[in-house]
Symmetry: C2
């Protein structure tokens, strides 16, 4: 059997001290790139193993965080979480963490996935996306004192844990305000059915802006499932009302695309503003509310590493402001 | 100090045998869901640690595979790799593997990332995306005998290693054939500059179909960087040629969107077919060639686990056929 490969073997091979090898393994970002590359090459060439285990024993950290990758739906709003995921991976790397993915079709199966992940990879923590009222996932993690941060607010208990979110209401209020400033009063809203945290928040911003301008929002509100077909159908319904809207603010780009389809079919144009600034919006010239996803991802990593460094610190909350991106369709 | 938590402690707490605990850790898919949940709960509750290290020692596997997450470009074609990533995560889970992400701005930095990942997480293997001529990444991995499979062909040496790819030429040939069957002869091609494996492949299918119909493709070919603006500019140039095209096949949906912009601006319509069947194509009714990304991801996992189970097996190659999705714009 070949000689056992130790840190000393690696150090000798790479012509560095054992401390440098240890640094490359435990805190690679503090080692000069050329040296790091040389040491890593030695580690790979010599087949030095069990570093992860050794490091975990020394640091008590796996330096792994997990996040769910969303199933592909219509693909339009899916791009939001993909951009978040990219930002998360990039920022985590800069702090010496790696991102592990998992899938889950619903909350219950997501909790099963937590068990799988924690029992086999000894993860440091989770970034949980898409919170809703009475979220069983955060309850499960909190009960077991597993570090996590959510991208999305705990709608029932705003101070319950660390989270990062985007102020959706500020986004729809700004979109509505823009249309009011352009002379519109009857600004309709294509939203989701009442009851979801995110959906209610986006509706609240639109309502606030209309009420601020002295317009009664009640006859201009709608609630439907997300989707292009649903947006098209709801727009037809809105246009048939006693006081039809002269402009539209939407809770998603999918709904906005549906609205544009109906308007085109009816031979009319109204200004329409979407939400999420997806690639589809950019491609067709649809104005939309843009979430600062890279920033949100970076703050999630900040808050999570904060919890890992000091588990008994108070939870922290970060609410980011979205930006209205104006294009030729509104 | 508290009693050390061992497999026996977990077994006692979950009222199962030690073998069952071991199975939950090493092969969770063979354990009944209720039992698995109970054992995992015990592991998490008792804080049983170092499983990963223990398992690695027993099985020689970390059960982790790594894949790069692409930087966000215009976001239109980005959705292709996002859908691939989702499929990969889902299939890997079913085989007992997890997917770890990394980012890299170019090939050189990607190789640096391999070093980081291998020296700190002891990964089982890599899924490499976006191969090109003389790819330094696969050479680096092959030299070190690190298991990998590529999504994309090694264009210079088709049998060099295991890979999965989609037959792009078959896709553009089918798209061109569809337009020829509809009565077109001068089918133009919006492609990328010659020299890239993927781009040349997509061009080859279009050429083959035109030549098969007795049409000389030379005056109908273009090469430009990917992007909406580039597609718009190239279409203007094509329309000004001696024999302008009466229909267009494109190497990407971004180029196709640019073509549609120019055509709309010029007040004309021609059938246009894109490539990749992105959400944008679906949203605006653009016909496009669709890659079977879920299937491609699943085959990548198959081939990689095959290599892990029998490292000295011959490399295997899988070429999948794309599908032409027809919509109202062509």
């Amino acid at each position: 059997m070949a000689e056992k490969v130790t840190i000393a073997t690696v150090a000798r091979h790479a012509r560095v001290s054992r401390q440098t090898v240890s640094n490359v393994i435990n805190a690679p970002h503090i080692v000069r790139p050329e040296t790091r590359q040389r040491v890593q090459d030695a580690i790979v060439t010599l087949g030095y193993r069990a570093n992860q285990a050794a490091r975990q024993m020394r640091t008590g950290r796996s330096r792994l965080i997990a996040v769910r990758i969303e199933p592909t739906r219509d693909g339009i709003n899916g791009s939001v979480l993909d951009r978040f995921l990219h930002g998360l991976t990039e920022t985590a790397e800069a702090s010496g963490y790696r991102v592990m993915l998992y899938t889950a079709a619903d909350d219950e199966r997501e909790i099963t996935a937590y068990g799988d992940l924690l029992s086999t990879y000894d993860l440091d923590g989770f970034v949980i996306t898409g919170t809703d009222h009475g979220d069983p996932r955060t309850a499960w993690l909190a009960e077991r004192e597993i570090p996590f941060v959510t991208f999305g607010r705990p709608w029932d208990h705003p101070q319950a844990h660390s989270w990062v979110d985007v102020d959706g209401a500020a986004g729809t209020a700004e979109a509505t305000g823009h249309l009011i400033a352009a002379g519109h009063r009857h600004v309709g809203f294509l939203g989701w059915p009442a009851g979801s945290g995110v959906g209610d928040d986006r509706r609240a911003g639109w309502r606030r802006a209309l009420l601020g301008a002295g317009v009664d929002p009640d006859g201009l509100d709608t609630g439907t499932e997300d989707g292009i077909a649903e947006g098209a159908r709801t727009t037809r319904e809105l246009l048939g009302r006693a006081t039809p809207p002269t402009a539209l603010v939407c809770a998603s780009d999918s709904l906005a695309l549906g609205a544009l389809q109906t308007l085109r079919g009816a031979g009319t144009t109204l200004p329409v503003i979407g939400f999420d600034d997806t690639p589809v919006a950019a491609a067709i010239g649809l104005s939309s509310v843009s979430q600062p996803l890279g920033d949100a991802a970076a703050r999630c990593v900040d808050l999570l590493t904060d919890l890992l460094d000091g588990p008994h610190r108070d939870p922290r909350q970060v609410l980011l402001r979205p930006a209205l991106v104006l294009r030729h369709l509104a």
